[in-house]
């Protein structure tokens, strides 16, 4: 086995070159290249983490915006509903007031008409008495030749009409 048979003859050369090569690897690669590569990886990991955080906050922001939009929409809808209800109620109240006013007016007209009718009726009745009294005077004069006093005739007519009235 040359590894052991040759060990005395080659150990110095093996160790010498190994230390040189391994020293170059340690200082040239392990100490100078490796930290840079690790820094690159760390920077990338940090960038990914930052981007994720940014995306998360953008999403939260979007959620907030949507929430605000929705609540504004809800408020607007509620306001619209309220104003239509108000308008409806107002219209109903106005209509009621107008109906009432008209009602009062009509009642007054009705009452006035009734009074007029009553007055006309009284007048008509009075003129009937006059006409009847005159007619009675004439009739009595023509039939019996007796001149009846005007007031007497009127009294008789009134008596005769009394059950009618």
């Amino acid at each position: 086995m040359p590894q052991i048979a040759q060990i005395a003859a080659t150990y110095a050369s093996q160790i010498f070159w190994l230390l040189i090569v391994f020293g170059l690897i340690y200082f040239g690669i392990g100490k100078s290249m490796l930290p840079k590569i690790e820094a690159t990886v760390d920077a990338r990991d940090r960038k990914i983490a930052d981007d994720l955080v940014a995306a998360q906050s953008a999403r939260a922001e979007a959620d907030r915006t949507e929430e605000a939009y929705r609540s504004a929409m809800d408020a607007a809808r509620a306001a619209a509903l309220k104003s239509t209800q108000d308008a409806k109620a107002q219209a109903a109240r106005d209509a009621e007031v107008r109906v009432k006013a008209r009602d009062v007016e009509l009642t007054a007209q009705y009452d006035a008409a009734e009074q007029r009718i009553a007055a006309s009726r009284g007048q008509a009745l009075a003129s009937i008495e006059d006409v009847a009294a005159e007619a009675a005077q004439d009739i009595v004069a023509r039939i019996s030749g007796v001149t009846v006093d005007r007031s007497e005739a009127a009294g008789a007519v009134r008596a005769a009409l009394a059950p009618v009235a």
Binding site: M1, L18, L24, L34, V41
Partner: protein, 261 residues
């Protein structure tokens, strides 16, 4: 590999030879640039190119950058899970360890033997894995004693040990602690060596079978070749697992040193 005369030495692949036959001796030590050193440098080069692909630092990574980042993330998560936030300081070391072993293992599996080159698996050498193990163990000791001073020895007395048992438990725990660098280095060395020997032996069967004529080739070479494909895939898995195990155990030992229990 000596294919001639049917003699194939599965151990030849582990032979360390100075390139171009040149020896470089400094202060009594032979530090020649060997095939082993060449493959270490190749590992460094390939690893460097691979990591450069991860340095584009784009916000949206391409395939290459994503591959590099998945490996750094893998080691980073392992350190975080085993040690916690304090483990971050040791991520460069464990990452270097993991990547060096992984790339050395995989480069050693390259089938460049078919074009006449010889792949060499750096991590199949006890010297190399031993140095890495001792390095990890030294860091554990230094960190442990620097952080907890002599209190570090309480690592060897688990919570709730009866007072009578403390000396015995202390010895057992100390022994298991001291065995760590050996198990760490030997595990990788043995896994890589065994896998490569097995592959070379099977490859020898294939070639010797082919040399021995069509009849033998049919019953020896073809099944061996099919088996080799399976073992190669298994070895690639072992390459990754052994790198992972080495890094994982190092992080667990560091956890002992940093957090005690």
């Amino acid at each position: 590999m000596a294919a001639e005369s049917g003699k194939i030495d599965p151990m030849h692949q582990f032979l360390v030879e100075p390139l171009f036959g040149q020896h470089l001796v400094v202060g009594g030590y032979d530090i020649s640039f060997t095939n082993s050193a060449l493959w270490m440098v190749l590992t460094l080069g390939v690893l460097w190119v691979f990591m450069l692909g991860g340095m584009k630092r784009e916000l949206v990574p391409g395939r290459w950058q994503a591959a590099v980042e998945s490996l750094t993330g893998f080691v980073g998560n392992m350190m975080d899970a085993n040690i916690g936030p304090k483990g971050k300081a040791f991520t460069p070391y464990v990452f270097s360890l993991f990547m060096f072993i992984l790339f050395a293992n995989i480069l050693g599996m390259l089938p460049i033997g078919v074009v006449g080159l010889h792949a060499f698996t750096v991590t199949s050498h006890l010297t190399v894995t031993g140095v890495l193990a001792v390095l990890s163990f030294s860091i554990v000791l230094i960190v442990g004693f620097a952080k907890h001073k002599l209190h570090f020895f309480s690592l060897f007395v688990p919570h709730g040990t009866p007072v009578v048992m403390i000396p015995l438990i202390f010895l057992v725990e100390l022994l298991s602690f001291l065995v760590r660098p050996f198990s760490l280095g030997l595990r990788l060395f043995v896994a890589m060596t065994a896998g490569h020997i097995l592959l070379k032996v099977l490859a020898g069967f294939v070639i010797n079978g082919l040399n021995a004529g069509p009849g033998i080739a049919a019953i020896v070479s073809i099944p061996s070749f099919v088996l080799m494909i399976g073992i190669t895939l298994l070895e690639l898995l072992v390459c990754a697992i052994q790198a992972y195990v080495f890094a994982l155990l190092t992080s667990l030992y560091l956890n002992d040193a940093i957090n005690l229990h």
